[in-house]
């Protein structure tokens, strides 16, 4: 029991600790693809350290929401890590506190606070980004629901640990047509939800075109550091769900061997899987252009169709 609680904390530590690294690798690889050298992969850590040391300036016009939002945004992904299999195949202490839908709600809470905070300051770009984020959210949420429903049809549950176990145990289920459709639908959702190309450019500097980034323009010092960190952790958590539960449910500490060494061994394996994912992300980010705002509905529409097709094919295959 206590051991499991300890592993839970270890998982949270891994997410908090390695999230900026993944961000750094992504940035570096993108620069390399564009024939540039790029910053060190540890640059996000340096940025965070610098921001944490700096003073914070808060608008006098803003309310407590603006000050609380970074903390909420930072803690929600950490909570989610307690629910999902980051390092172990066997359920840990908090595993049955919530399912994938619950994890989605927790993440949405963070997003909600960030959006409120963006409206709070009176900066013209903040509300614009917030409303756009909501629009993308409206479009992705039904798709998320259909994906989760289909997963529950397959695995009989939406608890991530049980779902993951289903794919590992039955190769027929793993290779089934609906599985690959679910994977692709979920991948499109990650792109939309995390503000990646072709929905949003994460590295753009043009405020009028921003979706995700414009919401944290007003933050400085510690607030900015937490927001940045929270963004990295959100991507990390989504990747963990995608990789450890859906695509490659292998390489985690097995159900029989519960030693600390096994869990620690899982850390490099999970990071390796993420590296592969990041490579795919780099290819996409370097080859696609940003969609016009009103074309985003087509993008999420495609994800919707794929998810529903997955559901249909699962429903009718007796």
């Amino acid at each position: 029991m206590l051991l499991h609680l300890g592993y839970n904390l270890l998982q949270a530590a891994v997410v908090i600790g390695f999230a900026p690294l993944i961000e750094g690798i992504l940035a570096r690889l993108k620069e390399i693809v564009q024939s540039k050298r790029g910053p060190s992969i540890f640059q996000p850590y340096r940025d965070l350290g610098k921001l944490l040391r700096k003073d914070e300036i808060v608008s006098r016009q803003s309310s407590w929401i603006f000050r609380a939002a970074p903390y909420v945004a930072f803690t929600t992904p950490v909570f989610v890590t307690l629910l999902i299999p980051v390092l172990t195949r066997y359920p840990l202490f908090f595993a049955f506190m919530g399912d994938m839908l619950g994890a989605g709600f927790v993440l949405a809470l963070g997003g909600f606070f960030v959006s409120l905070a963006a409206v709070d300051t009176g900066n013209p770009y903040g509300p614009m980004g917030a409303s756009r984020t909501r629009m993308v959210g409206f479009l992705t949420e039904p798709v998320f629901l259909i994906v989760f429903m289909t997963i529950s049809l397959v695995a009989g549950s939406t608890i991530p640990y049980i779902v993951q176990d289903e794919w590992v145990r039955s190769p027929a289920a793993f290779f089934a047509p609906w599985h690959v459709l679910l994977v692709i639908a979920f991948f499109l959702l990650i792109l939309a939800e995390d503000g990646r190309l072709p929905v949003d450019s994460a590295t753009g500097h043009f405020e009028l075109a921003m979706i995700e980034k414009s919401k944290s323009l007003e933050y400085s010092g510690r607030g900015a550091a937490l927001m940045k960190w929270a963004g990295a952790m959100k991507l990390f958590v989504l990747m963990v769900v995608f990789l450890n539960v859906l695509v490659t449910p292998w390489g985690l500490a097995g159900p029989t061997d519960t030693s600390l060494a096994g869990v620690l061994l899982a850390v490099p394996l999970v990071l390796l899987k993420m590296l592969a994912f990041v490579l795919v992300l780099v290819v996409i980010e370097s080859s696609l252009a940003k969609l016009r705002l009103f074309r985003i509905s087509e993008f999420t529409g495609a994800a919707f169709v794929i998810a529903v097709v997955a559901m249909i094919s699962r429903l009718f295959a007796a």
Binding site: P171, A176, V180, G301, F316, A317
Partner: protein, 225 residues
């Protein structure tokens, strides 16, 4: 060499089926003609892979022959013919003219996929092996999606590609229900499709040279008033 068991071969075949269906949905949604073109080649490759996997799993030389023929004609010969016959400018079309907008056509496509899965209930009385139950509805769905794309698109090459997609769907369903079609029929069909592509490709070229456009959907000189 028997490291891969029959069941795992069939599992991988099912995976190919999922991606196969996805490519068909892609041709419904794609705006650029070149994307449609590449999706068709990918889809034909998946059809060939699926036939090869089934052939290995069921140890059927017929299916291996189908795989080889498909690979040769649909991923090499037909794309080459299309490139040769149709003016290169056509492939630079970035927005294919459509009767319906893409979200609407995607929603309708969804209904067609549902219909396809539903229609497989027709064969209820027959003992169907599990792998047929994977391929059959996907094949029917791709046939419907191809036919649907054909009616929605106004661009000549896009219509032709949609037709070839529909044809892929029929073969995808066919390889599981009739793994032992007479070789002569296979060969005849294999010759038929490239010849068809050549004929329609040349027709497109003639339309392009006569009218300076390949928007066949905009041609409405002949109709009832």
């Amino acid at each position: 060499m028997h490291a891969l068991s029959t069941s795992s071969l069939l599992s991988i075949e099912a995976l190919a089926g999922g991606v196969f269906l996805l490519t068909a949905l892609g041709t419904v949604a794609a705006r650029q003609l070149l994307t449609c073109f590449n999706l068709f080649v990918l889809q034909s490759f998946l059809l060939s892979a699926s036939a090869a996997l089934l052939g290995l799993a069921l140890s059927s030389p017929h299916l291996l022959a189908v795989a080889a023929i498909t690979l040769a004609t649909k991923t090499v010969l037909i794309p080459w013919l299309l490139r040769k016959t149709v003016h290169g400018e056509v492939y630079r079309i970035r927005e294919i003219d459509q009767v319906l907008n893409i979200p609407t056509s995607l929603l309708l496509a969804l209904g067609l996929v549902g219909l396809a899965y539903f229609s497989v209930d027709f064969f209820g009385g027959v003992a169907v092996p599990a792998y047929s139950l994977v391929n059959l509805p996907i094949g029917v769905a791709v046939l419907l999606l191809g036919a649907f794309t054909l009616t929605v698109r106004r661009e000549a090459v896009a219509q032709l590609l949609a037709l070839l997609v529909a044809e892929n769907g029929v073969f995808f369903a066919g390889i599981t229900i009739v793994p032992n079609l007479p070789a002569i029929a296979e060969l005849a069909a294999a010759v038929d499709i490239p010849v068809y592509t050549l004929v329609v490709g040349l027709l497109t070229r003639r339309i392009y040279s006569e009218m300076g456009t390949t928007m066949v959907g905009r041609l409405t000189a002949l109709r009832e008033e």
